[in-house]
């Protein structure tokens, strides 16, 4: 069976309508159909792995939409479709109580096609069209969320449109110069674009940073992720913000390296690919994301800021420019796609049973939802970059690159983000899953099978990519080899060699497993322990039933890091500045309206007269 990206997109756009109608008929059926469609995408992309195929959608007239699937964009397509599939699987039961399920599925399929379209684009026009398709589809998707979701969606739209407009300008700049939108043509002519290259770089990379949620243009992530429908958050954070990383990859790595490679340069070094300012922007993003995440009180907003921090790692890796850093940055896209999906899906599962994402109101859910807990635990271990999970591999590669180049400040910040991430990922673990289970959740059950299955898939993939990193790294190493970037060596499934040292993730996992099993056996050999109720606690002599009538009182979850927050409280919030700017613009527009349109006829005539006089008297 011959798949092309074009045919997948055709099928997506046709099925979107069918799925809409099916979901109107039965929500479950529609979601199953969506899942099957996305499953087909995963399969199709998987078998497209070693093909270099270019497919077309013909628009009558001068412009065609062209798509390709080759080694340069395959990893993006693969991870994108996996996350799509997983969240569609989750939605089979997850959409049960959702009001506009039909529109949700319809728009999800559109977002799905846009994922294929953006990552599979062979020319900038296609990329742009699907980028905008994603923008409006996800605008409506976000609007379906919580109460504040409407204004969050508008903010998201506004920021997305800024990035789209930056792109459209850059797109035509390059079109004027080379006469084509095609990525290959641009890459081949990259050297001749020297007069507009700076502008192009700023336009596209800024667009990518906005979409990617990198400081200082990350401000939309908090409200958008926090209020979007829970299932969509995983797609939004898992893939859609990776669109930004993809653009950054294209302009920072792909074009220059491809051009140099075609010019016959045998090895493209870091000096050609490194962009220090961008790397530092990524680093600031890591810090801001980490510190802001620690302060969040809402489960999803916390994950949103962790996305900011991880987008920073991706940009830092890509922009740093050495083979190992780019490998780390690009593989972090995989890692974060999976972990963000895992975290958001577990947040969605928690919301599904409790109806809230406010961490204060929960506790002890691990007793009721072991699978969700496991998903979250694995995801955070990966997020914090702890071996033997996937997050460690990509971060380790970035550290190696930074240390090898001796960039202290960046190394320090990268570690800062990593250590800081222990703090913020632990907070939901402690306050949502562990501790005291409030009575109101006494009757909750683990989520239905489809949601469990989708979370399990994410968990297993995170573990597999951690223990056998070659599955994740090999496709990216192929890119680097094709672009003649000196890269790290990988032996077998798990042995990675860099300039500084070597790492065998499988060995780490085995030793970890041995230690764990040894202790567990020892534990069971010793005398059996008695299990007690959740109230039976050490209370310094007080009787629990007397001092705490509800478990909520006996659960430490409010202001979890208050003492730490006190240390960083003085820091100004960028979001506040944006809000002030917006208020000023809004007030200015109000004034315009008031002066020009709301005044009466005499004022109108004054305006007319003044306009005429100004037009006639100013010598232009």
């Amino acid at each position: 069976m011959a798949f092309t990206i074009g045919s997948l997109i055709y099928s997506g756009s046709i099925f979107s309508v069918i799925i809409y109608l099916l979901t109107r008929f039965s929500v479950k059926l529609g979601s199953i159909f969506t899942t099957v469609l996305f499953g087909l995408y995963v399969y199709a992309i998987y078998i497209l792995k070693d093909s270099v195929s270019i497919s077309f959608i013909h628009l009558p007239g001068a412009y065609n939409l062209t798509f390709k699937a080759d080694l340069f964009n395959w990893p993006f397509l693969m991870i994108g479709t996996i996350v799509l599939f997983v969240s569609a699987l989750f939605s089979i039961h997850g959409l049960k109580s959702f009001k506009s399920a039909a529109s949700f599925n319809f728009l999800s399929v559109l977002v799905g096609t846009s994922v294929l379209g953006v990552f599979g684009a062979n020319d900038l026009l296609t990329l742009f069209i699907f980028w905008e398709l994603m923008t409006w589809a996800s605008f409506f998707l976000v609007s379906m969320g919580k109460k504040e979701a409407r204004s969050a969606a508008l903010f998201f739209l506004f920021m997305s449109m800024i990035s789209a407009y930056l792109m459209i300008y850059g797109m035509f700049l390059v079109y004027n110069k080379v006469g084509s939108f095609s990525l290959d043509v641009i890459a081949n002519n990259w050297g001749d674009l020297s007069d507009i290259r700076g502008r192009l770089f700023v336009l596209f990379v800024l667009a990518g940073l906005i979409k990617g949620g990198v400081w200082p243009v990350h401000v939309w992530l908090r409200t958008t992720h926090g209020n979007a429908p829970n299932i969509f958050s995983s797609v939004l954070s898992g893939i859609l913000i990776k669109f930004g990383s993809f653009i950054v990859y294209l302009f920072v790595v792909f074009f220059p390296a491809f051009y140099l490679t075609t010019k016959g340069v045998s090895s493209v070094g870091a000096e050609k690919l490194s962009h220090p300012i961008l790397a530092y922007i990524g680093a600031i993003s890591i810090m801001i994301g980490t510190l802001s995440a620690i302060r969040q009180n809402d489960f999803k907003k916390l994950i949103a800021f962790s996305s900011v921090s991880h987008a920073g790692y991706i940009v830092l890796g890509i922009a740093f420019g050495t083979g190992s850093a780019i490998l780390g940055g690009l593989s972090h896209i995989w890692v974060h796609a999976l972990t963000a999906a895992g975290m958001f899906l577990s947040a969605a599962a928690v919301y599904y049973v409790t109806g809230t994402t406010n961490m204060d109101e929960m506790g002890g859910l691990v007793r009721k939802m072991p699978i969700t807990f496991t998903t979250y635990l694995v995801a955070i271990i990966s997020v914090a970059g702890i071996p033997p999970l996937a997050g460690f591999v990509s971060k380790w590669l970035i550290y190696q690159a930074l240390i090898a180049k001796g960039n202290y400040l960046l190394t320090f910040i990268a570690f800062f983000g990593s250590v800081g991430s222990f703090l913020y990922v632990f907070r939901p673990l402690a306050t949502v899953f562990l501790g005291q289970l409030p009575h109101k959740y006494d009757s909750v059950k683990e989520v239905p099978w489809s949601m469990q299955l989708s979370m399990l898939i994410v968990t297993i993939l995170t573990i597999v990519f951690g223990v056998f990193p070659s599955f994740m790294l090999k496709p990216i190493i192929r890119i680097e080899e094709a672009l003649s970037i000196p890269t790290v060596k990988i032996e077998g499934y798990s042995n990675i060699y860099t300039m500084l040292t070597q790492l065998d993730m499988f060995l780490v996992a085995i030793i970890f497993g041995i230690g764990f099993i040894f202790v567990t056996i020892l534990f069971f050999l010793l005398a059996k322990s008695t299990k007690v109720e959740q109230y039976e606690q050490y209370t310094a002599g007080e009787i629990v039933q007397e001092i705490s009538t509800t478990p909520e009182i006996y659960h430490y979850s409010k202001n979890y890091y208050r003492s730490f927050e006190r240390v960083i409280e003085w820091a100004p919030s960028l979001e506040e500045y944006y809000r002030i700017a917006a208020r000023h613009i809004s007030r200015f527009y109000d004034i315009l309206d008031g002066i020009i349109f709301k005044s009466g006829i005499p004022m109108y005539v004054w305006f007319i007269t003044i306009t005429i006089l100004v037009l006639l008297l100013i010598r232009w």
Binding site: K598, S599, G600, I601, P602, V605, W606, T609
Partner: protein, 124 residues
Amino acid sequence: MLSWNEFLIDWVFVYGPLSIFFIGLYGLMTQKNLLKIVISIDIMDLGVNLFIVSLGYVKNGVAPIYTSKNLIFIKNFVDPLPQALVLTAIVISVAVSAFVLSLTIKIYEKYKTVDIDKLNTLED
């Protein structure tokens, strides 16, 4: 010393109508009463119409009429077109005046006021 002709062309035929026009404009800028605004527009109309007519002026001109008895081409014909145009313009301005006055009545019936400031608060 200004000749009578120059005075006529400049001051009576050009600046005269224009000043009438500007008086109307001044009325529009300052008046708050709908009726006064209507009158101001009519004054502006008047100014423009006078301007058009005056452009057709030719010194010692004669009526641009050919008859079967008078077929001689005379150089100082008065331009007939502006006069034809001004008729149309006058008709239109009369129609507009009528319409706008009826609107004023309607507004008065609806809001019981013809003051612009009050109307602005009543309907936006």
